[in-house]
């Protein structure tokens, strides 16, 4: 078994009102920033999965992302494998 470190990035779906994004935009004039627009604010979770393969680990992450970390009615998510983690950890803990 190996450990795989992932990030799950969740964002409001395009077209869904994003009050946090709007709040950030409304603060931009106070920073004298005029070149920024279309701000969307989401959330990011990082997690480690112990699994035989990266594909197996991704199935677990995908299920969590869909069921818990995002609400598919209003949000989208993207899964990111954080670099270097799986090979480094699998050397420390070789498969039985």
């Amino acid at each position: 078994m190996s450990e795989f470190r992932f990030a799950v990035n969740v964002l409001p779906k395009p077209g869904i009102l994003d009050p946090q994004g709007r709040a950030v935009e409304s603060s931009l004039p106070h920073l004298n920033v005029t070149s920024v627009s279309r701000v969307r604010v989401g959330r990011r979770a990082e997690l480690t999965v112990t699994a035989g393969t990266e594909a197996e680990a991704r199935v677990v992450v995908d299920g969590l992302a869909r069921e818990l970390l995002s609400n598919p009615l209003i949000e989208t998510y993207a899964i990111e494998l954080l670099e270097g983690t799986s090979s480094a950890i699998s050397r420390e803990a070789p498969a039985q």
């Binding site: 009050p19 946090q20 959330r43 992302a65 869909r66 818990l68 009615l73 209003i74 989208t76």
Partner: protein
């Protein structure tokens, strides 16, 4: 007759709901979030508050709690379930009622008395209502009702919209930015029910204005509706199907689909 109120870690309106039920003349029962056993109650209220701290999204962690397994089975067997405020958020996250509750359009936590109008008086959750606007409090940061246009059309066609925020003259506060619509809810929707008609959620708190000593007892119309419906359900021998809002109407709107059927961009 016993009616249950679930207590989650972070619930804060559970005791108010228990009190309102006692005023309505039934035995109120506290249901603990760690047990799926509903103790034979005839109806269930998911109360207001901040279940599990509202972490990730309001209601989503409660969705996976043991008591929700019992609540889902109870709802599937025809029992009446009412979610109030955070309880509505739990029902929406669980897919037991359609739609989602987004952060208030104003970005502010909204805490004041609002007026809601019952859309129909023949539903299990409004049968004891007078039909006049009901003045009860809201207290939420995420109450902006959202569903896509097709779902909203289907909810209206099926009679699943139970309450809307209304203006002083009783007309619905359709503009999401107008003062009478406290959170920007689409089509001014304050409460909906599932296609079967036995599970409903609303953002305002009927239990917090359920006795004259609390200011008014206008909210008691909704508590009484639930109690009467539960009593009829018991008297009929707990039928699995109730006379839902879709009876004799077009195809029901789909509630949040099971995980396997849900896509994700």
């Amino acid at each position: 007759m016993k009616v249950g109120v679930v207590t989650f870690p972070g619930s804060n309106s559970d005791v108010d709901a228990l009190n309102a039920l006692a005023v309505a003349g039934v035995d109120p029962v506290t249901l603990w979030h760690e047990s799926p056993d509903l103790e034979g109650v005839s109806a269930v209220i998911l109360p207001g508050g901040f279940a599990y701290g509202d972490y990730i999204r309001a209601g989503v962690i409660a969705r996976f709690s043991p008591v929700l397994r019992g609540v889902k089975a109870f709802a599937a067997s025809g029992g009446y379930v009412l979610g109030i405020c955070n309880g509505f958020q739990v029902l929406a996250e669980s897919g037991l009622v359609p739609g989602a509750l987004l952060r208030n359009r104003s970005l502010r936590f909204a805490c004041r008395v609002v007026a809601i109008g019952p859309e129909r008086l023949d539903s299990p959750f409004t049968r004891a209502a007078s039909g006049a606007p009901i003045h009860i409090p809201i207290a939420h940061g995420e109450g902006c009702y959202y569903a896509d246009e097709a779902t909203l059309d289907a909810l209206e066609a099926n009679g699943q919209v139970l309450f809307r925020y209304v203006r002083n003259d009783g007309s619905p506060a359709i503009d999401p930015d107008e003062a009478a619509n406290p959170n920007g809810s689409l089509r001014a929707i304050a409460g909906v029910c599932n296609a079967a008609g036995n599970v409903a959620g609303l953002m305002p708190h009927p239990e917090r204005m359920s006795e004259a000593i609390l200011g008014t007892d206008e909210g008691m119309q909704l508590i009484r509706s639930l109690v009467e419906s539960a009593a009829d359900w018991e008297a009929a021998g707990r039928p699995a199907t109730v006379a839902g809002p879709t009876a004799g109407r077009a195809a029901p709107a789909t509630d949040r689909a099971p995980a396997a059927a849900r896509g994700n961009a």
